[in-house]
Amino acid sequence: MTTPDSEAPDNFGEQFLDDYFAECDEHIASVRRHLLALDQQVGEGRIDSALLDELFRSFHTIKGISGMVGFRDEEQLAHRIEDTLRAVRQGDLTLNVDSIDGLIESVAMLDRRLAARRSKTPLPVVPGEGAEANLPPAAAAGAIGESPLLTFSIEFTPTLALAEQGININSLRARMQEIGEILKSTPKVKGQGEISFQFQVRTHVDLMALPEWNSGGLQTVAAAPVPVEMNRPVPKIASSNVVRVDLVRLDELIRMMGEMVTSRARLEDQVKQARKTLPSTEWRAMFESTQTMARQLRDLRDGVMRVRMVQVGEIFDRMQFVVRDMARESGKRIIVDVVGQETEIDKFLIERLMDPLLHLVRNAVSHGLERPDERKSAGKPPEGRLTLRAVATGENVTIEIADDGRGIDVERVAERARATGLLAPGVPLDNARLLEVICYPGLSTRVEADRESGRGVGMDVVKSTVEALTGTLSLSTEMDQGSRFCIELPLTLALADVLIVAVRGQTYAVPQSTVREVFEVDPSAVRALERNEIIAHRGGALPLLRLSEFFKLTEPKQSRDGRFHVFVTGTGTNALGIVVDRIVGQQEIVVRTIGDSLVQVPGIAGATDLGDEKVVLILDVPAIRRSALQERLISTGN
């Protein structure tokens, strides 16, 4: 029934790999959701058959399309899961926690295989049918109850060759009597004058499943076909209105729209300049048109952005799946709370975030949450609690991963950091510095004996990925209370609202998503603290960083009274005030990352065109903050 890879004449299936992976992703996502629901139902002792149907269908489809693209192992794996589900559906097999575990394991394997196929990395080995201890074999189902009595029609066409092998009417009759009862035997004349014999056999053995009853001159069919999966009630039409679109095409749309935004800004500029030369009523009408256009473009932008948005629920399901798997392996008991799974975020961002998020979740399970006995002796409930939360706040999304485990042993981390020279002696390790330290390349794996370290993602990668997406990572932790990681990201990367700032005759764009607040400062408010400048702000001390010093700009300052603007980035002890000469305005821009070596300067994230054909550099605020913080880590206490 299946064709080996080598026989595929033209690799027909290969051209559909993108569709294949996309469709498998959809099915695996829904499988995860359904398995988690099934897991819960098994615990409650009731099973919704619609859920089984959905699962069954997903694996059925995965099997079908895997076969077409020539992925035989995936096809077989899906086939085996399908068999198991069929047995459950037919009541031949009872689902329990172990069999759900087996299913989850198989799905995880399927998922890993697909990921490896996609990235063309070495494939994890699928255990053989016998080795797959946890996937209950559907064949075992027969042992549970008496298998039904079946009737088969067996047609035998004798040939000389078969007779030489000892296969003839007599040997066949003996075989049939071994397994059941011969009801009828009739000779038949076939087209070319050939003779065949037709037997009706009643038996408990499903001959259809046995190849030897369909080879060696034998053709077996069920005599009284029992309709399977028929006459089921027909539910309402749920025709899907979903269109699958390649992200690249959407990027193209965004790019075109970005150009329109730029052209409009240019037009507005020109209209403003025409004010002197045009009669006022005509000029006003023209100006209002540009304003209307701005609103319309914003609506269009929002519309296109919405198309790119996906719910974070899908990755939360995936994380729950990982947690469940890890909990089972480690003997921990974990309750996962999911909040805000309907929150939407750019598809591009969520894909980039997947590995960092999974890393944080794995860390929480393997290092944060304790074993039940440990928790009990600490006076906690035996079940650890892991919270996955997503919240949209204006132009940003916050994703939070929190556990109520043992928290990070700050003193131990501090010792390590001092031992490696990362932290000056005597300097306390607050949450912001702690994050810097545990995200220091190569350190996290040494501080925490990380079981997952083989996966190639460490805390340093988590942090740099988040920051590359112009987001921020923050941490709060308390001994015996747990840890909380927060990732704050813009909703999208393609377009950004920026502050335009001027420093010593240079103009920069600052993504608004990185700016907490902006205020004006009188130079007299600045105090020196060791090598740093600080100002009093909101009841605390806000360290300052002068952008002119950061970029070593030597032009004179263009301000008569010496006052300047500060924008605040980061929160709490992580906050930093960045000093600029003045804030020029705000604007929406299209972000272009440039490969030009001229702009590959630390602290610069990209460039944009403000509509006046001058290129403006976009500040890489997280990078600036990082370098400032590192300097502080080393310098403080010296």
Partner: protein
Amino acid sequence: MLRPLAKTAHVLVVDDSPTMRRMIVTALRGLESVKFSEAGSGLEALERMTLTPIDLMILDLNMPEMHGIEVLQFVRAHNIYSRLPVIVLTTRGDETSRSEAAASGATDYMTKPFQARDLLELVRNLLPENEKP
């Protein structure tokens, strides 16, 4: 029964997997004067058929809402489509499914994974005479 040569044959591809539908349509791209419609469920297929006349159907069995066999039985019960060529294209290779499909009126039966050229040949043979190249 002769129809003008310019007539385009209309093939309806019924499968709940969009990837599989694309594969089927791509496999049949070599056919001249054929246009394709796709349906992701049995009900969708029946609806499509009542709206536009079709000349051949490629039908999956295991689909949500309405099983392929039910679709087939329904189609056969309809006067207009009692003689419509229907190819059942399914992952189920067992004889029970085959004979069930045959008993319900399938014109032909092919299992997935299929070879593109086999499907092409089968469809070519089943399309009305004047639509063949």
